[in-house]
Amino acid sequence: MTTTPLAPSAGATTSSDGPPSGSRRARRVRRLGPRDITVLAVLLGAALVLDLALVWGPTVASITLSFTDWNGISDLRWVGTENYQDIVSTYPPFQRAVRNNVLWLAFLALVATPLGLLFAVLLDREIRFTRFYQSAFYLPVVLSLAIVGFIAQLVYARDYGALNALLGRENNPIDWLGDPDINIWAVLGAAGWRHVGYVMILYLAGLKAVDPSLKEAAAIDGASEVQTFFRVTLPTMRPINIIVLVITVIEGLRAFDIVYAINNGRNGLELLSVLVTENIVGEASRIGFGSALAVILLVIALGFIVTYLVQILREDRR
């Protein structure tokens, strides 16, 4: 990847950014006075304490709890991997949740993300009304998923919903949200509706940062517009590609609010996140069991987090 692909101000910044010399760096560290160190200690300390106490600490605690059968009141009792075995063998919603999560992920990655990229490419051409188009595609992103879930009901409702009316099926209505065989697809439509705008805005920013001279050079070499896009533009946007990929994965795993708003994530709309919440917050209060589900979710997420971090570190080293 080229250095600083030319966004707005980058032109001004690159030229002046000399190679960071080791001695200069050392000098700067040495220059920290006692007052500087106090400021650093207090503010970095505050941020670190918050992050460790409220994010990393609970993560470790959850992993520990997943090996117990705690219900919130009882004493902690170690049960080994029993929770995990139960999840796999005697907990039917788990299979459905995994299937739905995988479906969710695949749909976002293979349908919604490419569509968002396509919109970004079309809108990157300095065309008229571009602000209107951008706002329209981005609008669902600023809506809370709870509202998206509710709007989905207006569209999909069996008896009064707009979709059945549009399809002319008032007399033989399809129960888009109630039929466990199809409701996941209906909800995916709503989730994708939102995801496309998200991806579009990220790529729009990424495309603006691609050096136009690269495209011109490719055009001079006789590459078609499509070739230029796939061989030149897309590869130079690698940092954005990674961000989009990770966001897609995270959205796929975090999906929660939208199904929760529709039917609390039951009857065909089971998701891992919903099962975790249901076991922990629900009346049964099966905290050990819920934590084990959470850890499974965590392990899946970790795979992608590590990929992301490797990318960050590689950039950081440059």
């Binding site: 966004a7 950014d17 650093l40 992050d51 609970p58 919109f119 009304f129 609008l139 509710f150 987090i305």
Partner: protein, 313 residues
């Protein structure tokens, strides 16, 4: 310095560079069939994208009896604002708006302040272990929130607070607790974006401040922070939207109905046995309005700030 500040919010279109603009203008003048086709495709897609939202607005203006008889996709018998009045008064919407703001505004300010300082320390001070810090914060933001639920719930119940901070006497069910988790969870993302952004600021500027003998705090506050304004604007928009829309943390860490944020309050409009979806639609429109307004006001800064933060290559 002027070179960098000139990219600030006000002037993003100029940024494509002279050649980009002129070729774009040339293109714009030529009306080709391809252009028309492009507009037809985009217009169709955009209207399709807006349709569900417009449907919600439309539903909110019609009495329940009307839509119950004819469905949501039908000509109206009459349009009224009755539901809006009803939501505003019966559902005590102003109070829930206040609940959301009392959490969202301080959270966004604290996040941006702490994250910008941490990013500054990572990107400009070159502390030993800066990379580990960056990874720690960024990875934290990527964890699924459900993993944190139980221990946080227990921790929040065990942490006592004096009554004048929280009437529940603990961090659980307090505004402070919600603010704290939002700050902790969102820090990572902001640190990541801001650290990338700050690295692009030429070192000469901070060097100059160093010669003047300015301390670390002063260099951060008066030199680096103002230069990072576009990225801060983009993050402020994003974070405002995310925290405003949060549903999960309030569900898990709050219990008093009268302290719930606006997104959860929407559920109060659902009846036990009967839900008037048109009323709910009016509620949803009112709840969504602030984020739509914020985005449209900051749209230009948003994209400009995102561009700069993302393109660290």
């Amino acid at each position: 310095m002027t070179a960098v500040t000139s990219t600030s919010p006000a002037t993003p279109p100029s940024t494509t560079g002279a050649s980009g603009v002129s070729s774009a203008q040339r293109r714009k003048r030529r009306i080709t069939p391809a252009r028309i086709a492009l507009h037809i495709v985009l217009m169709t897609a955009a209207l399709g994208w807006l349709a569900p939202v417009l449907l919600a607005v439309y539903a909110s203006l019609r009495p329940y009896a009307d839509t119950a008889a004819h469905g949501y996709l039908s000509w109206p018998e009459r349009l009224t604002f009755d539901y809006y009045i009803q939501v505003w008064q019966d559902a005590e919407l102003p109070r829930y708006f206040f609940n959301t703001l009392i959490v969202t505004v301080p959270a966004v300010i604290i996040i941006l302040f702490l994250a910008s300082f941490v990013a500054y320390a990572i990107a400009r001070v070159r502390l030993p272990g800066a990379r580990v810090l960056l990874v720690l914060f960024t990875a934290g933001n990527l964890l699924p929130p459900q993993v944190l639920i139980t221990p946080l719930y227990v921790l929040y119940n065990k942490l006592p607070l004096p009554w004048w901070i929280s009437d529940s006497m603990s961090l659980y069910d307090s505004y402070l607790g919600l603010i704290a988790i939002h700050v902790a969870f969102q820090l990572g993302f902001c640190v990541f974006v801001l650290a990338n952004y700050m690295r692009q600021i030429p070192t000469e500027i901070t060097e100059a401040a160093l010669v003047d003998g300015a301390g670390l705090w002063k260099r951060y506050l008066t030199v680096t922070l103002p230069l990072a304004r576009p990225a801060l604007a983009a993050l402020a928009t994003l974070e405002f939207t995310w925290i405003y829309n949060d549903f999960l943390w309030a569900l898990v860490l709050m219990s008093s109905g009268d302290k719930l944020p606006i997104t959860s309050a929407l559920n109060n409009l659902r009846g036990q046995f009967f839900t008037d979806y048109n009323l709910l639609a009016a509620g949803a429109v009112l709840v969504a309005l602030p984020t739509i307004i914020v985005f449209n006001l900051l749209q230009k800064q948003f994209i400009a700030g995102l561009t700069l933060g993302a393109n660290k290559g």
